[in-house]
Amino acid sequence: MSTRGCAIILAIVVVVALAFPREHSAQAASAALDARANPSQSLAIVVNRSNPINNLSFSELRKIFMGDRNHWPNGHRIAIVMLEYGQPERRAVLRLIYRMDEKTYQDVLLRGMFRGDVFVAPKTLASPTIVRKFVFNAPGGIGYLRASDVDESVKVIRIDGLLPEDKGYRLQIDESSKATDD
């Protein structure tokens, strides 16, 4: 095979490799958008009721979860809570907000703490109920829950102006993504 032929084949492989994930992501996003009305599949971002924030853009949300932002406008330290490893909600957050798998997340977290970039590590809690109680007790707490697990003790904030039940809400749990994420 000539060098030109090899280059063409390589180009085709690269194009196909790059095209496939995009197509896959687009399909997933479409499926997520279609599932907007299912509260058990929507992931609500919850904060303490005393928190003045009602709306966050997705990028701000990502900054908060990535530890790039440490305090709320009212001065309270942001306390992120994560569900334990293996929970669908945690997988969804890793996939949609952190955009990384579990291992990468752990590496990034450890590295950040070692360097001092991450001042307080996210709290890992055992169940949605404990998450709810934590956010209720901590004025600076922020966490995530299935929309069906939310109650009056916490406040759900809008992401890009949308609530979990709204059409086009981005944070959806994909139960089938377990094998891929792990």
């Binding site: 404990i130 109680k133 007790n137 004025p139 600076g140």
Partner: protein
């Protein structure tokens, strides 16, 4: 020896008389004893009422104290514990970085603070004085202030700002919690004071009750002892009287027996010594012996009859009898006595009198005793009236024996039916007798449901009346007797 024996006998015989005449014999009567017992009962009941009232008040005070002060103290104790638990759980959250544990401690702290808040609300709801209300309001305010700090501390701990949390707790939490502690102590002190006051009341009531109970016991013991002593004295007195009567009876009967026996012995000696050799003489002595023997027999019969009436279950032959038959039988039996004494008998018997239920011989004996008495105690006017009539009001037949004899003193009327009793007047007049006749007559009437009454006046005479219920209206005593007899006679 003989003299000493006689002396001892005389002394023994004088003992009842001495006792009867002493203060012991004249003191408390049975009525007075009963009055003493009633007094004891009344006193005891009176004291019991007071004691029950005191106990009731004590109980109410204790209950009030329990529901108020004691429960209040318990509630304050609970609140103190829960307040400490609120703070303790908050601080426990500082000791771990595990978010799950921190949330668990936060939960515990909030549960405890909820119980304290409820306790304060309950205290305020039960507050009875302005002071209690003020104390409760102050406690509620200070507790709210502390909770505000607690919430901030808890939030800082959960957010991972432990240093700030400790700083806040030391600067504000401690002082706010001290306020709460002081408020709770104030509430506790008010309950303590109230409880002490109520305890003092209970102690006072208990002392009063104890005093009354002691007084009741002492007075009851004292009066009871007096009553028992009086009753025993009364019984002893009765026993002594009975003993005296029995001694009198023995003396009387001995005398009664001795007189005919002496006559019999004299007559027999006359025959033995040949003083009565002629036919007429022998007849005369034989008649004396026969008459005196009959008299002896009569005395012995009387004693036996009295003993028979005293049996627990005497046996009678009950049937319907007419008083005409009773009177006829009595007159037949006493005919020789009446004629011998030269008495005239007047009988007035209503026609068509209904029958009564009795034993003919016993009822006749009753009437005989009355006739014998009438003869015996009529010294000048030898007249006897025997009558029978119906008392429709009482449904009884009345049989009366009337005499114009010496009469009975009013004081003796209550004793003449006592066994062995002989009035001093009769004894003084040396009229012989056993003192059993009227007792037997009374018992004979009563055993068939009847009764024996008397009316008498000194120097005018006496009327003894037997009241017998007519057949069909016989009282239970006779029926029960009839049952026993029916079994015996069947």
């Amino acid at each position: 020896m003989q003299k000493a024996s006689n002396l001892a006998r005389r002394r023994l015989a004088s003992v009842p008389t001495l006792i009867r005449n002493s203060w012991l014999g004249r003191s408390l009567s049975p009525h007075l004893s009963i009055v003493a017992l009633v007094l004891v009962l009344v006193a005891e009941v009176g004291v019991a009422v007071f004691v029950i009232r005191d106990l009731s008040r004590s109980y109410a005070t204790v209950e009030n104290m329990y529901n108020g002060s004691v429960q209040g103290l318990l509630r304050v104790g609970d609140m103190q514990y829960e307040a400490q638990e609120t703070r303790r759980s908050t601080l426990y959250a500082l000791t771990t970085n595990d978010g799950n544990l921190q949330v668990s401690y936060a939960d515990q702290s909030r549960d405890a603070d909820r119980r304290v808040t409820q306790g304060i609300a309950q205290y305020l709801a039960n507050a009875r004085t302005a002071q209690e209300t003020r104390a409760g309001q102050q406690l509620a305010k200070d507790w709210t202030d502390y909770l505000r700090v607690r919430d901030e501390v808890l939030g800082l701990i959960l957010e991972g700002s432990s240093r700030e949390a400790v700083h806040l707790d030391l600067n504000l939490g401690v002082s706010e919690f001290d306020h709460v502690r002081r408020d709770l102590d104030d509430v506790k002190k008010s309950y303590d004071a109230e409880a002490s006051q109520q305890l003092a009341t209970v102690a006072e009531l208990s002392r009063a009750s104890m005093g009354r109970l002691t007084a009741a016991l002492v007075s009851g013991l004292f009066l009871g002892t007096i009553a028992v002593w009086a009753i025993q004295r009364s019984r002893m007195r009765s026993a002594m009287q009975l003993a005296q009567l029995q001694m009198d009876f023995v003396a009387s009967v001995s005398h009664e027996l001795r007189t005919p026996l002496t006559a019999i012995m004299t007559a027999a000696e006359n025959v033995r010594d040949g003083f009565a050799l002629s036919r007429e003489g022998l007849f005369e002595q034989g008649s004396v012996i026969t008459d005196q023997a009959n008299q002896l027999m009569a005395i012995v019969d009387q004693v036996l009859l009295f003993a028979a009436t005293r049996q627990a279950k005497p046996t009678y032959f009950l049937r319907e009898i007419y008083v005409n038959d009773v009177i006829e039988e009595a007159l037949r039996s006493t005919q020789s006595l009446i004629e011998g004494a030269g008495f005239s008998v007047e009988t007035k018997i209503e026609a068509d009198l209904p029958p009564v239920i009795a034993d003919l011989s016993v009822l006749s004996q009753c009437l005989q005793n009355l006739i014998v008495n009438a003869v015996k105690y009529s010294t000048t006017n030898n007249w006897i009236s025997i009558s029978a009539r119906m008392d429709p009001d009482e449904n009884t037949v009345l049989m009366s024996v009337q005499d114009r004899g010496i009469g009975i003193d009013r004081a003796d009327l209550t004793h003449i039916f006592d066994p062995f009793y002989r009035s001093p007047q009769v004894v003084g007049a040396r009229i012989q007798g056993t003192g059993l006749g009227l007792s037997i007559a009374k018992r004979s009437a009563e055993v068939f449901g009847g009764q024996l009454t008397v009316s008498s006046q000194i120097g005018v005479g006496s009327v003894f009346t037997v009241h017998m219920p007519i057949a069909g209206a016989v009282r239970h005593e006779a029926s029960s007797t009839e049952k026993a007899i029916g079994g015996a006679r069947a």
